[in-house]
């Protein structure tokens, strides 16, 4: 019954995020998943039918027939049910390995811009920081990407291990401090996709989400120019405030933190930045521990270009109310 339901839901193609991908990487994974479901469904069916048949036929009852207690095996049968699983595993291994290798490659571009867009995605408790090194801009908790163009995400973490995941574009990969991993994704359709950290990172984990806006290439280029020209410059002090655990809203900056730190090479930066910001970790059960994950309003230094010396001033860590805490699109 459950499996009938299962197939019904699958065949109706109803909106299960992972089975409704919007890009080539996600599509390959969906195809592999559907293939495996078909095979697994057959196996389950065989087991269920045999089990039901034997239980009905050989249950102890009046007029019980066919009882034979001395059968202790059958080489022929045992070979059959050793070889069949081997064949199934082999059949599933081939597309699996093919897909594993394939999604490490750059997806084919459908745009004039053939080179993938490079975006560094850095996780920090509990926010996402995105750097566009070629465009020299940085965003927090959202990204804009051009539709149909492959995007190369270079993943790392400022502190605990996170997992970068945009289900409708493709499967996840870990962000680890002191290391860099890579992930290719591509959006085939315009739209806003939900992305998040999938690997548990502590208190603020549930709300560690971001939006991926796939937009036309032209609009993307316009947006880049706009951020380059109008967004505040990212200073190290501003950046350090993002290293303090807590939630923040969406931001865009000109310049990137790659100018002074690459977390893939420096695992200690975030801890040092916290110290600079006067943050001390406390036992969550101590009286001074906050009940909820704070939502910070980062004090963006808009005059940074003119007043470079202001960078070393103290932080602003006012706690905002809960009004925009569950910020979600």
């Amino acid at each position: 019954m459950f499996f009938a339901l299962f197939m019904l839901i699958l065949l109706s193609g109803c909106g299960l995020t992972v089975l409704d991908p919007q890009g080539t990487v996600g599509e390959q994974q969906r195809d592999l998943i559907i293939l495996s479901i078909v095979f697994m469904f057959i196996i389950v069916l065989v087991v269920f039918i045999l089990l039901t048949y034997f239980l009905v036929k050989y249950r102890e009852r009046d007029g019980h027939r066919g009882y034979n207690p001395d059968i202790d095996g059958s080489v022929k049968l045992e070979v059959v049910w050793t070889v069949i699983p081997i064949i199934i595993v082999t059949i599933l291994s081939i597309p699996t390995v093919y897909t594993i290798f394939n999604i490490e490659e750059v997806p084919e571009a459908n745009t004039e811009e053939e080179e993938p867009l490079v975006v560094h995605a850095t996780s920090a408790n509990w926010k996402w920081i995105f750097s566009y090194p070629e465009e020299n801009i940085e965003t927090v908790n959202f990204i804009n990407i051009p539709v149909e163009r492959p995007v190369l995400f270079k993943l790392t973490s400022a502190d605990s291990m996170a997992s970068f995941w945009v289900p409708q574009l493709g499967g996840q990969r870990y962000n680890m401090a002191g290391m860099q991993t890579e992930l290719y994704l591509q959006a085939g359709e315009e739209g806003t996709y939900y992305g998040r950290n999938a690997n548990f990172t502590g208190e603020g984990f549930a709300e560690m989400r971001f939006d991926v806006n796939a937009i036309e290439e032209e609009a993307f280029n316009e947006w880049v120019t706009e951020v380059q020209d109008e967004a505040p410059v990212l200073t190290q002090d501003t950046y350090d405030q993002f290293m303090v655990p807590g939630h923040v809203g969406e931001y865009a900056f000109s310049g990137t933190h790659l100018d002074w730190v690459d977390h893939a090479l420096d695992a200690e930066y975030a801890l040092e930045a916290r110290e600079r910001q006067g943050y001390e970790p406390v036992n969550p059960h101590s009286p001074e521990a906050a009940d909820d994950v704070p939502f910070y309003d980062i004090d963006v230094d808009t005059d940074a270009v003119e007043n470079e010396e202001r960078q070393n001033e103290g932080p602003a860590q006012e706690e905002e109310g809960d009004s925009n805490h569950h910020h979600h699109h």
Binding site: T17, V44, L77, V89, V97, L155, G171, H328
Partner: protein, 659 residues
């Protein structure tokens, strides 16, 4: 650690306050009952100091059931919190994080593993015709280190605060920088202390099985549960030292600022992940292989047939145990280790499906041409087959790395491992306990209540976990404490929560059944209580009043189903002409005291209270020294006493059959 006294007792949570009151009342209640009925001496002499494998097995099972209640309540709180979007039930993330961490840790370390070890303790020596395990003193020590390790872990939620970094305790999240406070220390010390017991049990059972089998019991005549116990014990010996070392390293990181796995000074957090799963994956087979053994015994017994394909079953377990050490990377395919590595671990993981499939089809073939009786242990074993198959095939799906990138860390995974661990291990714990209940307590549990428990639990289990496959495919990650209405995860989560409460209800009926059966069920006198269908040696000895020496005369084994063969040939193994003296080990209080000192020392380390830690260490060494110098050669049960005891049992039997 600068720990203020106002941080020592956890305050400010109504549920924790309720827990504290419950602990206090239970403790007072136990002390009152033991004092009022003058049972202190009895509990010390008959239970705490016991080296009898069956009593130790029973204590393991009781402790595991208590832990199951604790972790089950954790599960119900989690499911309530997730029943609807933006639930205010648990208030904040930290509380939820502590609950899922303790739920996972307790269910694996303090429920599944010790429950099965309890059943192994009860059944294995009986199945091989031994009088006890090879090292009875060590067996008692194993139990008490497990028990006091579990207690140390458990008090964390009322004292100091529970760990909250997940049961896998990934670094650097579990480091002092990101998880301050004593919580994670409780995890490290609690697991370390109980891990000593598990490792010792592994060694003990391997030696027991290799050296103490009855005459004629060749390896290929051992009952299937004994086979799985042997191979599980070998996995324990291979895997647990890895955990011991990894826990030790993380303990050093947290207590003495070393940098094995931290962000600073070139620590390697991913090394923790590797070490953890190098133990953690074999651990999954430590809790599933004995379950396979239990189901093999039960299916053969109630189908009234020889187990189909005995030899291929043995090779399948051996193959699974070998593969279990070769697949740990599938827990972190998303680490970015490269396509070659992921392909290797994908295929090696999928390969486990082959021996597992062989076992499933052998069980099905055992039913073929059988005479199947649907007693309660059998319905659990039969319920296991379809549910475990669902868990198994979704495991193959997860093994396909490229697809796993989409399921990893989602409810698809959560559902998969609950389908294998509940339908495999927990069903086996129910099945095995009910099956061997007459051997432990001399009576059968009530069958009617037992069937109710089975159906409510089995339906509740599917209602709870089946929807979670879809939640996973819809992008719901595990370990989130809340979600939003826009996510569209409400209805499936709600259904899931309903199922969880059905399982809770079934468990309550199970506990009631124990009480009910104790009051009203007739006592068992035959020794072979399942309609005379017993096949292996444990049914050859009496079970009405189990004598502590197991067998008055060790039977000679001529067949894989030794007792079945004797019945076929009309041999009564209890028809003994001449009785002999029996050499048995003495009871001892040393392991209990030593384990209490481990608890004290561990508690001191959790809070960095060195003086207490040193007191604990001195106590441990004092106990070891006492043990080294003690001369304890056990005692002799004279032949005459054996004869009298056996005659008493025969008399009871004669009276029963005469009525």
């Amino acid at each position: 650690m600068d720990l203020d006294w106002d941080e020592f007792i956890v305050t400010g949570e109504p549920f924790i306050l309720a827990g504290q009151i419950a602990i206090l009342l239970t403790t007072i209640g136990i002390i009152f009952v033991l004092t009022y009925f003058k049972k202190w001496k009895w509990i010390w002499n008959e239970w705490i100091t016991s080296v009898d494998h069956r009593k130790i097995g029973i204590m393991y099972i009781i402790a595991s059931v208590l832990m199951m209640i604790r972790a089950g309540v954790d599960a119900l709180m989690m499911r309530t919190q997730l029943a609807a979007p933006n639930m205010p039930f648990l208030g904040e993330a930290q509380h939820y994080n502590e609950i899922f961490t303790t739920h996972g840790t307790i269910m694996i370390i303090f429920v599944a593993t010790p429950f099965l070890i309890g059943l192994m303790n009860v059944a294995t020596p009986l199945q091989i015709g031994a009088r006890d395990v090879a090292f009875p003193f060590l067996n008692n020590l194993s139990f008490w280190t497990f028990f006091w390790g579990a207690m140390l872990f458990n008090i964390s939620f009322v004292i100091g605060g529970a760990p909250s970094a997940g049961w896998s305790a990934y670094m650097p999240l579990a480091s002092n920088d990101l998880s301050p406070g004593p919580g994670q220390n409780f995890y490290l010390l609690g697991l370390q202390i109980s891990g000593i017991g598990t490792l010792a049990t592994g060694i003990n059972l391997v030696v027991t099985i290799m050296k103490m089998r009855a005459k004629g019991m060749r390896l290929m005549r051992m009952p299937m549960f004994t086979w799985t116990t042997l191979i599980t014990s070998l996995i324990i010996i291979g895997a647990f030292p890895i955990l011991t070392v990894a826990l030790g390293m993380q303990t050093f990181d947290r207590l003495w600022d070393t940098s094995f796995f931290t962000l600073q000074d070139g620590g390697m957090p991913m090394m923790w992940v590797n070490l953890f799963w190098l133990w953690g994956h074999p651990e999954v087979y430590i809790v599933i292989l004995p379950a396979f053994g239990i189901f093999s015994e039960i299916i053969a017994t109630f189908a009234r047939k020889r187990l189909f394909g005995y030899t291929s079953m043995v090779f399948a377990i051996a193959a699974i145990s070998g593969l279990s050490f070769l697949v740990w990377v599938h827990h972190f395919f998303t680490m970015g280790a490269g396509p070659m590595v992921n392909s290797f671990f994908s295929i090696s993981t999928m390969a486990i499906a082959v021996p597992t499939g062989v076992k499933i089809f052998n069980w099905l073939a055992t039913l073929h041409r059988g005479r199947i009786r649907f007693s309660v242990p059998m319905v659990w074993a039969l319920g296991f087959i379809p549910n475990f198959t669902i868990g198994g095939v979704t495991g193959v799906m997860l093994a396909m790395a490229a697809a796993d990138y989409q399921y990893h860390n989602t409810y698809f995974l959560v559902s998969h491992f609950h389908y294998v661990l509940i339908a495999g291990t927990i069903f086996a714990c129910f099945a095995g306990t009910i099956y061997w209940w007459p051997k432990m307590f001399g009576l059968k549990l009530n069958e009617r209540l037992g069937h109710w428990v089975f159906w409510i639990f089995m339906i509740g289990f599917n209602v709870c976990f089946f929807p979670q496959y879809f939640l996973g495919l819809d992008g719901m990650p595990r370990r989130i404490y809340t979600y939003f209405p826009e996510d569209g995860w409400f209805s499936l989560n709600f259904i899931s929560t309903v199922g969880a409460f059905m399982m809770g209800l079934a468990f309550v009926i199970f506990v009631y059944n124990i009480y009910y059966s104790y009051r009203y069920q007739p006592r068992e006198t035959t020794g072979d209580p399942w309609g005379g269908r017993g096949r292996t040696l444990e049914w050859a000895t009496s079970s009405a009043v189990p004598p502590h020496y197991n067998f008055a005369k060790i039977p000679e084994v001529k067949d894989q189903d030794a007792y079945w063969q004797m019945k076929q040939e009309g041999i009564d193994p209890n028809d003994i002409e001449e009785y002999h003296d029996i050499h048995m080990p003495n009871y001892t209080g040393n392991p209990f005291i030593m384990s209490v000192f481990m608890f004290v020392g561990g508690f001191g380390l959790v809070f960095h209270w060195w003086s207490i830690a040193i007191i604990g260490a001195i106590g441990i060494f004092a106990c070891m020294i006492q043990r080294s110098f003690s001369r304890d050669n056990g005692h002799i049960v004279p032949a005459e006493e054996v004869r009298e005891e056996e005659a008493k049992i025969r008399e009871v039997k004669a009276n029963e059959s005469g009525q």
